[in-house]
C-alpha cells in the first residue's frame, strides 16, 4: 500500500539526496526573488545571456586555477554590460544585441575549453547540471549567497521598486539608476552561478522565471510575487527531485518540467487571470 511518509522519507536516507533537496529549496527561493526583477523589468532574456556567458569564465578560471565561481561571475557580468553598451550606444535593438552576445560568449567558452585543454571541464554537466554531486560546502555557500542577496533586496527594496517600475521617473528623482541596474545584474549573475550546478546553464532561466511568473498570475504586488514565487520555486525543485528519484529521470529537466506544469495549471485556473476561470465566469466573452 502507498505510504506517503515512506514516499517522502525514503530519499532522505541518502546524504546526497538531503544535500540536493536542501540546495534545491534554497535556490528555488533565491531564483524567485531575483527572477521577479527580471520579469518586471522585462529582461528575462538577459538571464539566458548571462547563463551562457559564464562558460568562458569557467574555462579560464579552470586554466588559471581560480575558483570557478569567480570566473563565471566575471564573464557573466561582462556579457550583461556588453548588451547594455550595445543598446545604449547604437540603434541596435536589445533582442538582437542579446542574441549576438549570448552566442558569441558561449562560442568563446567552447573555443577556450578546446584550446586551453581544459577538457576536464565536463561540458554535459555544465550544460545540464548535476544536483546529485552537490556537497555540503556547496549548500553552505549557496545559503550564504542567498542570505546576502535577500538582505540587499530588503535594504534597497523601495529604490529597486521605483527603478523597476518607472526607470525614467526614478532617474529624474535623482536615484543612481546605473548602479541599481549593475547591482541587479550582479545579483542575477550570482544567482545564475549558484543555480547552474543544479540545472545547468541551458535550463537556469526556467528556475529564474518560472516560479516568479507563476506567482505573478496570483498576486498584485512585487513583494508578494517574490514570497509566493519563493515558495513555489522551493516546492517545484523538491517536487522535481522526487520525481527524478522515483522515475529515474535526469533531475534538471525534471525540475524544469514541474515548474512549467505549475505555470500551465495557474494559467488555466488562477482566480483573476486564469484562461478557463475567466471563460466560466463570462462564457460568451471572446478570449
Amino acid at each position: 500500500m502507498f505510504n506517503p511518509f515512506t514516499f517522502l522519507l525514503e530519499p532522505l536516507q541518502f546524504a546526497f539526496m538531503r544535500d540536493a533537496l536542501l540546495m534545491g529549496a534554497i535556490l528555488g527561493v533565491l531564483c524567485a526573488v531575483t527572477g521577479s526583477y527580471l520579469i518586471v523589468r522585462q529582461m528575462s532574456m538577459i538571464g539566458d545571456v548571462i547563463a551562457h556567458s559564464v562558460v568562458p569564465g569557467i574555462s579560464l578560471a579552470f586554466f588559471w586555477g581560480w575558483d570557478l565561481t569567480l570566473g563565471a561571475f566575471i564573464t557573466g557580468l561582462l556579457s550583461a554590460i556588453v548588451v547594455a553598451l550595445i543598446e545604449q550606444r547604437s540603434p541596435v535593438k536589445v533582442d538582437a544585441a542579446m542574441s549576438l552576445t549570448l552566442t558569441s560568449f558561449f562560442a568563446l567558452g567552447i573555443l577556450l575549453i578546446a584550446r586551453l585543454r581544459t577538457n576536464q571541464v565536463d561540458l554535459t554537466k555544465l550544460l545540464f547540471g548535476d544536483i546529485l554531486e552537490v556537497t555540503p560546502s556547496d549548500v553552505w555557500r549557496t545559503a550564504l549567497i542567498t542570505l546576502g542577496i535577500l538582505l540587499l533586496v530588503k535594504l534597497f527594496y523601495k529604490e529597486l521598486l521605483f527603478y523597476s517600475f518607472d526607470p525614467l521617473g526614478a532617474q529624474a528623482s535623482g536615484l543612481p539608476v546605473q548602479w541599481l541596474y549593475l547591482g541587479l545584474i550582479g545579483a542575477i549573475t550570482l544567482t545564475i552561478v549558484a543555480t547552474m550546478q543544479v540545472v545547468g546553464v541551458l535550463l537556469v532561466t526556467a528556475l529564474l522565471i518560472g516560479p516568479a511568473i507563476t506567482a505573478y498570475l496570483w498576486v498584485k504586488e512585487l513583494h508578494q510575487m517574490m514570497i509566493l514565487g519563493g515558495i513555489l520555486g522551493a516546492l517545484a525543485t523538491v517536487g522535481g527531485m522526487y520525481s527524478s528519484y522515483y522515475f529515474d529521470l535526469p533531475s534538471g529537466p525534471a525540475i524544469v518540467l514541474v515548474i512549467f506544469s505549475g505555470f500551465v495549471i495557474t494559467l488555466l485556473f488562477s482566480p483573476r487571470q486564469g484562461l478557463l476561470t475567466r471563460h466560466w465566469r463570462h462564457p460568451n466573452a471572446q478570449p
Binding site: K158, F162, L168, Q171, G174, E221
Partner: protein
C-alpha cells in the same frame, strides 16, 4: 516681491542637446517663473520631451546652462517632480495605487529607511487631492487611463516639489481627469510653484496657461497666447497650410 521672483526662477540659456545621435535642440533659451503655468508646444519630434530630459539631466547637454536661483539646476533636482509620458510605464507591473504614490517619497526618505507614517500620510493626502482615495488597494493595471494619470499626478504631489514637469499629461484621458489636472495646476500655481506642461492641445484650454513656448528644434516663439499663437509662428513650427480655429 520682484526680488523673490528673479531669485527663484528657472533660467535656461542657449541649450543645445542631441538625442540618439541627432541634434534635437538648438540654442533654446527661456525663463520659467514661480506661480506660472507654462505650456511647451510644438509638432511631433520637435524636441519637447528632450527639453524635459535635458532639464532633468537624463541626457547630456552639448552646451548651455540651466540655473535655479542663479545656481546650477542640477543641485536642485530634488525639488522637481516629473510625470513621464504614459507610454513609458508598464501598466501590468504588480503594484498597487497606494504604493505608486508612495514612490514620490522615496528620495525624501533616503537610503536604508522605511517610509515614515508622515510620508504615508502625505501620499494618502495626495491621492485624495486627485479624487482617487478609494482606489489605494487596487492594482494600477485595473484602472482606466485617466485614473492612472491621476495616480501619477498624486505621486508628483506627494514629492512636495517646487517645480513640476508634465510630459503630455492630457494624452488618452477622460474629461474628469482633465478637470482634476487643471484644478491641480491652479492649486500649485496659487502655492507659487513652477509648472512646465507639454501638451498638443491648441484648442479650448489655452486660457489655463500663463506662458507659451513654441518649439521645433529651436524656440520659435515665447510669451503670451497672443504673441505665440500668431499664424506666422505656427506656420514656422508646424509647416505651411497649418490651420487652427484658435489662431
Amino acid at each position: 516681491m520682484i526680488v523673490i521672483l528673479t531669485l527663484t526662477m528657472l533660467e535656461v540659456c542657449h541649450l543645445t542637446a542631441s538625442y540618439r545621435n541627432h541634434l534635437a535642440l538648438q540654442d533654446v533659451s527661456f525663463v520659467l517663473h514661480p506661480g506660472q503655468v507654462t505650456n511647451l508646444l510644438g509638432p511631433n519630434g520637435a524636441g519637447k520631451s528632450t527639453v524635459l530630459k535635458a532639464l532633468l539631466g537624463l541626457i547630456p547637454l552639448h552646451s548651455g546652462t540651466i540655473l535655479w536661483q542663479k545656481t546650477p539646476f542640477r543641485q536642485h533636482l530634488r525639488r522637481v517632480a516629473y510625470v513621464p509620458q504614459r507610454s513609458t510605464i508598464d501598466w501590468d507591473y504588480p503594484i498597487t495605487v497606494e504604493n505608486v504614490v508612495r514612490l514620490g517619497r522615496v528620495r525624501q526618505t533616503g537610503w536604508f529607511r522605511d517610509l515614515s507614517p508622515r510620508a504615508k500620510a502625505i501620499a494618502r493626502y495626495a491621492l485624495d487631492r486627485v479624487g482617487m482615495a478609494d482606489y489605494g488597494r487596487h492594482p494600477i493595471g485595473e484602472l482606466s487611463g485617466g485614473q492612472q494619470q491621476r495616480v501619477f499626478i498624486a505621486r508628483a504631489l506627494a514629492q512636495e516639489a517646487d517645480i513640476f514637469f508634465f510630459d503630455e499629461p492630457f494624452t488618452g484621458i477622460d474629461h474628469q481627469t482633465e478637470a482634476v489636472l487643471f484644478d491641480v495646476f491652479a492649486q500649485l500655481k496659487a502655492e507659487g510653484k513652477t509648472l512646465l506642461v507639454i501638451s498638443h492641445d491648441l484648442g479650448n484650454h489655452l486660457a489655463h496657461y500663463d506662458q507659451f513656448l513654441l518649439l521645433n528644434q529651436t524656440l520659435i516663439a515665447a510669451g503670451s497666447q497672443k504673441e505665440v499663437m500668431c499664424p506666422d509662428c505656427l506656420e514656422r513650427a508646424y509647416g505651411k497650410g497649418f490651420f487652427i480655429r484658435a489662431a
